[in-house]
Each structure stands twice: as structure tokens, then as C-alpha cells.
């Protein structure tokens, strides 16, 4: 986007960000991820979303304007907004995940902005792990490419509930409906190979703003919502598992004060399902049973609690449970297992070592583990399974893990919180692998 265009935009304020003191109690939070490379217009798109929602401030614009001029750039380089590290600005690339924030009167948005090249697969996986939605950019001139495949596969692997495919640069194909229809048909065919739930497809020009925030007058044939419209309206209430009650105990609260002498509360964040006072619960791994006495949230009690609330539970009986244990319902147990398969993304330059010991974190539980077997590796550009068992940085593979103590897992597809693990190198303490339980 050129500076002139931005100034023109400034005069035509497309969204009135009215954060009047009444509206904020109804606002929802949507986290979405974008992946993209230098030329596919990702920075322009983010810049436009931020700019049109008044989330770029004058001093930020001034600062990147000065920096752009100093670098001899012809246009104001909006990537300088998101590329926060010196090395990124110097090299003109996004290295790490950057988090950006903007809001409309309806929703607050968190963008996990990630680089798109294959050597940054781990960063894309990181950005995708917390996202409700993913924006996948397709260049209208090129259609579905390896990069589209890679980004879609990662969205599917990380089970991002909502996918928004933006066919960008429509201005460069004369806003032709045939181009859009062809790409849409191509994507419809391709998505059959993936496990994607909710997909919207929108033709846009990030550079000119068509269908980003304002409906495009250049594409009257498109009857769907603008990108902003989709972001503001996709239903996110069902993104958490509301069926399988899971409460990993995070911290035991014992005030030891005169007033609360016998208080013993189990603090944690609900990882799935719904809990109510009076519910029968069973503690894992001990299998001891009790009932929920109260659900405490600061100085109030709640009639029920659900994911992802942070609350404190009290129980009818004084049973021995502590951090790393999990409260569940007796008629709905997770898999209690010491050996299971995961899809693993390797995050470290040091390759995966079979049969050596790693630390493993699952919800609030710490155990040790070995990786027993690499079953196959995935070519993320075409999703083919490879008979290659050497797993290095950015590789995605299917592996069998054996743990020293049982963990209480669900499939990642059923629950993104209780189906996720991280693997840590005990020598360096670095997080070296992340896994999604099959």
C-alpha cells in the first residue's frame, strides 16, 4: 500500500471503532493465524486490517514511514510494523511469530502472523496452535500451489476450526469471476484430502481494499461477505470441547488462615466439558471418587464451569490429589496410557533421537518419555507419506511415544487441550518437539 493510498484511506474512515463504554461487555475474542511469504500480500492484508480498524497509530505510521524512506523503499513498507526484531527488519523477512491486535466494536482480534516458507514450518505450527481461524492466501494468478497445500495441511493438522481462503490480487486478473471459480473448484477438490471443518472463500485485493473491509464494486458477482465480515461473524462458541469433562489440576490452594482454615481448593483451567456442583468426579491416576462441592471464582461461586475458564473446585471428600492429576467424570474417562501415537512437528536443529530420554508435558502433568518409533514422515507440500525415518527441524512425522508414567489423553481431534504434548530436551531444557495425539 502506498503512502498516498494510506492517507486517502485516512480520510475515508471505513470502520468507526466505537469502544463506547457500553459495548465492551459483549465483545468476543477471535484468534487467527496468517501464513505468507514475501510476495503474497500478507503484510499488505494485515496492514489494511489494522489500518482500516484504526489500529495503526500516527506515531507508528510515522516511524515506519521514516524507516521506509531511509531504506530507499518506494512505498511505505507495512511489514516493518510486524517485523519487530532488528534482524527481521535488516533482512526484510519475518523470522518469528508476531502477535498483532486490533478490534472492531464486535470483536477483539489477535493475529498470529507467521512466515510462510517451508523452513518456518515450526513457526506456522506455533501460530496455528492457539488459533480459532486461519487465513490462507492464494495468489489469483497462480491458483492452488505447494504453499497453499502446506498452509492448509498445517491448519488441518492443528485442527484450526475455521479456514478463510482469500483469493488475493484479484485486481491482477481483472476481477474475473471465472478465475475465482476455477481456483475455488481446485481448492474444493484439494480439501477432500484434508480434515478441514468450516471453510469460507473470498476474492479480495488486499492492495486496493476490495472485499477486505468494504464490499468490492469491482466484483458485483461475489455475493458473500467481506473478509472483515467473516472474521466478525464466524461462530466460535463451539470451538471448545463441551462434551468430555476434563479438569487438569494446576495448583492446590490452601490458605492456612483462621478464616479459611480447612479450605482446600483445586485451581485449574477447564480443558473440556462442563462441571457442576454435585457432579460425581474421579481423580486420575488414583481413581479416587468424590463430588464437586463448589466452583469458586475469586469471591463468588458459579453454578457451572466450562472450557476455557480458570476456576477453583472444592470437593466433598478430602482425597489426595495434586498438580498433574486430572478430575474427570466416572462415565467418561480419557485414555490412560503410557504408549501412544502422535503427529509430531520437530522444532529443534538437533534431530530426533530414537530411544533417548526426553521430558514431556501434557496439560499440567510432567513425565519423561522415549520416542520408540518413527512410523512415517509427511511431505507437507503434497501430504505424501515418506519412508524416511530421520526427523529434523520442521519435519512432521508420525511417532510412537512411551512415557514413564501414565498420561490422560484424548485424541487431538476430539480435544486440542488434552490431545497436545510438548517434548523437551533434558540437556538444554529446550522445547524440541510438539505432538498431537492420534
Amino acid at each position: 500500500m502506498s503512502l498516498k493510498q494510506m492517507i486517502e484511506l485516512n480520510g475515508v474512515q471505513t470502520i468507526m471503532t466505537d469502544f463506547s463504554t457500553k459495548g465492551y461487555l459483549d465483545m468476543e475474542l477471535l484468534r487467527f493465524t496468517t501464513a505468507g511469504s514475501v510476495d503474497d500480500g500478507k503484510s499488505t492484508l494485515i496492514g489494511r486490517l489494522l489500518y482500516d480498524s484504526k489500529s495503526i497509530f500516527e506515531d507508528q505510521l510515522e516511524a515506519i514511514k521514516r524507516a521506509s524512506i531511509r531504506r530507499g523503499n518506494e512505498h511505505v513498507d507495512l511489514a516493518l510494523l510486524t517485523d519487530g526484531l532488528r534482524a527481521e527488519r535488516e533482512q526484510g523477512i519475518t523470522i518469528d511469530v508476531a502477535y498483532r491486535y486490533f478490534a472492531t466494536p464486535k470483536r477483539k482480534f489477535i493475529i498470529a502472523d507467521t512466515p510462510g516458507h517451508i523452513q518456518y514450518t515450526r513457526n506456522m505450527v506455533t501460530g496455528a496452535s492457539t488459533a480459532n481461524a486461519a487465513i490462507i492466501l492464494i495468489d489469483a494468478r497462480h491458483g492452488v500451489t505447494e504453499q497453499t497445500c502446506r498452509h492448509s495441511y498445517i491448519a488441518s493438522l492443528l485442527q484450526i476450526p475455521h479456514i478463510i481462503v482469500c483469493i488475493n490480487k484479484m485486481d491482477l486478473v481483472d476481477f474475473k469471476q471465472e478465475m475465482f471459480d476455477t481456483i475455488m473448484a481446485g481448492y474444493a477438490e484439494f480439501r477432500k484430502k484434508l480434515d478441514l471443518r468450516d471453510i469460507s472463500i473470498v476474492p479480495i485485493s488486499a492492495l486496493l481494499g476490495d472485499n477486505v473491509v468494504e464490499p468490492s464494486s469491482n466484483m458485483p458477482w461475489y455475493k458473500g461477505g467481506t473478509l472483515m465480515n467473516i472474521l466478525e461473524n464466524i461462530e466460535i462458541g463451539n470451538d471448545h470441547n463441551m462434551l468430555d469433562a476434563r479438569f487438569p489440576i494446576q495448583y492446590v490452594i490452601r490458605p492456612l488462615s483462621d478464616e479459611f482454615h480447612d479450605y482446600r481448593g483445586y485451581a485449574g483451567r477447564v480443558a473440556g466439558g462442563i462441571f457442576k456442583p454435585g457432579d460425581d468426579v474421579v481423580a486420575l491416576p488414583s481413581m479416587l471418587r468424590s463430588k464437586i462441592k463448589s466452583i469458586d471464582a475469586y469471591n463468588t461461586t458459579l453454578p457451572e464451569t466450562f472450557a476455557p475458564q480458570s476456576v477453583t473446585l472444592t470437593l466433598d471428600d478430602d482425597i489426595d490429589v495434586s498438580r498433574g492429576d486430572m478430575l474427570v467424570k466416572p462415565d467418561n474417562l480419557p485414555q490412560v496410557s503410557q504408549e501412544f501415537d502422535v503427529m509430531m512437528c520437530w522444532m529443534s536443529e538437533k534431530p530426533l533421537q530414537l530411544n533417548s530420554k526426553y521430558a514431556l508435558k501434557h496439560t499440567t502433568r510432567d513425565v519423561r518419555c522415549m520416542i520408540k518409533e518413527v512410523k512415517y514422515k509427511v511431505n507437507v507440500n503434497n501430504m505424501e507419506h515418506l519412508e524416511d525415518f530421520n526427523v529434523g527441524l520442521n519435519d512432521i512425522s508420525c511417532v510412537t511415544i512411551r512415557t514413564t508414567k501414565p498420561v490422560f489423553i484424548d485424541s487431538y481431534k476430539a480435544n486440542r487441550r488434552t490431545g497436545a504434548i510438548i517434548v523437551i530436551d533434558e540437556a538444554t531444557n529446550n522445547t524440541v518437539g510438539v505432538g498431537m495425539v492420534l
Partner: protein, 302 residues
């Protein structure tokens, strides 16, 4: 259609932050909460109180005192500590200067902002704190946008932004070697607007500095700065009485004041919604260079 299981953005943020704060208490032996007297650390303290209620905070507060504070900040700090029954540690920049650990900057733009880093790291080492929670937010500054919730610091207290640990889902890896520590940012995902909306929703008390008041100020490099005994005027500058408020609170030497008549949280929210300058736009410490924050953070700044 919204069901009763849809949360608002402030609820989501609160639950996330409480989770992070509890994770700190669970994973570390000697955590501490960095308290500056600014709104972000006030909100963080409020969240911490909620996280452990009815128990008291399982960690102390730490204030790095530049000696150049607004008096109201110190009064507020002491009242809050008293009210919630917390333990307070103070790391003194003046003491670091007296001991010769740091040398005071000179000249009209002298600030103790950078000196705080040494005092902070010395205090962390002295009390063997292994995790220091800060009120930094990713929306504040571009280097902070790259920060993890759990941010590893080596034995020199330094941050290596290019070599950060991956952080996925809500699984936080706080493992470390002896002598290393973590900085943890529980309100990473909050924006300035979220903080103010939450302050309103929770009816949180703030230092009066955030609301409109009369103060002697002078104008320098595009911002109003407060009169104080240690602030030196250039020949061209002079004091004027203005109606102002603080948008952020740091030490006096680098806190730009906003001309404002905002007298309530509602007024402040309206004012922020209309403003076109970021809150750190008023912070002289950030304007020193394009990578001022990144450089300071690498050394161990907040």
C-alpha cells in the same frame, strides 16, 4: 447466536492470565511479581489476587525504585500492599549508583530508565528469584510483539530474541539451569484498551495521576514532562501550569503527560478510542532509536 458458553474478550483474557500466573506459582520455586505502580502491573496484581483467593499471594511484589517516582505512585503502592497483605521488596537504583554498580547519566535528557536494568538483575540475583512476572504487553512495542509468555533469560539475565523457545497451546516450559531465570508476561495478549475496559469492569482503584489534574510541566521534543527537582530545563524551556494526566506511568524523567480533562475511567476510554498516538509514543525511553526496546530487553530490561 451467542450461547451462555460464549465468553467475552475480557473473560477470555482474564482466564488466560490467571492460568499463566498459577503456572508460575506451580513451576517456580521463588517467583516474584514486578510492580511499578503503573496500570498494567496494577491489573496484573489484581489478577494474581484473584488467582489464589482465598489464599494470599504465594509470591512477593518487587518494585524497582528509580528514586524519580511520582510521589502518588509510592503512596498507592504502599496502600495496595497493605490491603492485599502482600510482601514487598524494593530494589533501589539510588543504591546501585551509590555502590558504583551504575553511573548516572548526565545532561538535560538524563534518565535512570536504563540504570533500572542493573538494579533489577542485581535484585533478582540477590534474592535468587527464578521467575519475574512483568506487565509487558505485546501491543506496546514491536520487540514486545515477539515476546513469549514464558521468556527464558540466561545466567547474565539476557534475552536472545532469535533463539526463543517455541510456545504452543497453553503448555509453558519453565525448565532452566541453575542461575538462569524467566520473565513471564501474564497480560501479553491485552491491549491498552483491554486494560482500561477491565479496570472499569472490575472497578479497580488507580493512582490519581491517571486522571486529570493541574501540574507544572514543560514542553520538550513533542511532549509535556513534569516539573521535578532533578529535571533540568534547557534555556528555551519554561514551566507552565497545565491540565494533564498520565497515560502511562514510568519514572518522571521519561513519562510524557497528556493534556486531558478525563476525570473518570469512562472519559479515559473515550479519550483512548479517539486518540491516534500509541501510549508509548509519550515515552522518551522508546524514542532513542528504532530498536531501543529490543536492545534494552536483550540486556535484561523489563
Amino acid at each position: 447466536m451467542k450461547s451462555k458458553y460464549n465468553l467475552t474478550h475480557l473473560e477470555e483474557l482474564e482466564y488466560e492470565s490467571i492460568y499463566v500466573i498459577r503456572e508460575v506459582a506451580a513451576q517456580f520455586e521463588r517467583p516474584v511479581l514486578l510492580f511499578s505502580g503503573g496500570k498494567d502491573s496494577i491489573v496484573m496484581t489484581h489478577l494474581a489476587v484473584k488467582a489464589f483467593y482465598p489464599a494470599k499471594l504465594p509470591f512477593p511484589l518487587l518494585h524497582i525504585d528509580t528514586g524519580h517516582n511520582f510521589e502518588e505512585t509510592i503512596v498507592y503502592r504502599d496502600e495496595l500492599v497493605n490491603k492485599i497483605g502482600a510482601v514487598l521488596y524494593v530494589g533501589s537504583v539510588q543504591e546501585s549508583i551509590n555502590k558504583g554498580r551504575v553511573v548516572e547519566e548526565t545532561g538535560v535528557n538524563a534518565s535512570r530508565n536504563i540504570l533500572q536494568t542493573t538494579t533489577l538483575l542485581d535484585t533478582i540475583e540477590k534474592y535468587k528469584f527464578d521467575a519475574a512476572m512483568g506487565g509487558g504487553r505485546r501491543d506496546e512495542e514491536k520487540a514486545r510483539a515477539k515476546e513469549r509468555f514464558f521468556s527464558h533469560r540466561d545466567e547474565f539475565g539476557q534475552w536472545d530474541p532469535k533463539n526463543q523457545r517455541p510456545e504452543l497451546w497453553n503448555i509453558f516450559n519453565g525448565r532452566k539451569n541453575p542461575g538462569e531465570h524467566f520473565r513471564v508476561f501474564p497480560i501479553s495478549n491485552w491491549t491498552e484498551m483491554d486494560v482500561w475496559q477491565y479496570i472499569m469492569k472490575e472497578n479497580i482503584d488507580l493512582p490519581n495521576l491517571y486522571f486529570t489534574h493541574q501540574r507544572e510541566v514543560f514542553y520538550r521534543d513533542g511532549q509535556w514532562l513534569a516539573k521535578a527537582p532533578f529535571m533540568k530545563l534547557k534555556p528555551s524551556e519554561s514551566y507552565e501550569m497545565k491540565t494533564v494526566r498520565c497515560r502511562t506511568i514510568g519514572d518522571i524523567s521519561c513519562t510524557g503527560l497528556t493534556l486531558s480533562t478525563a476525570n473518570s475511567i469512562e472519559d479515559i476510554i473515550d479519550e483512548i478510542a479517539a486518540t491516534r498516538i500509541t501510549e508509548r509514543g509519550g515515552r522518551a525511553d522508546d524514542q532513542r532509536s528504532e530498536a531501543a526496546m529490543e536492545d534494552r530487553k536483550k540486556e535484561g530490561y523489563f
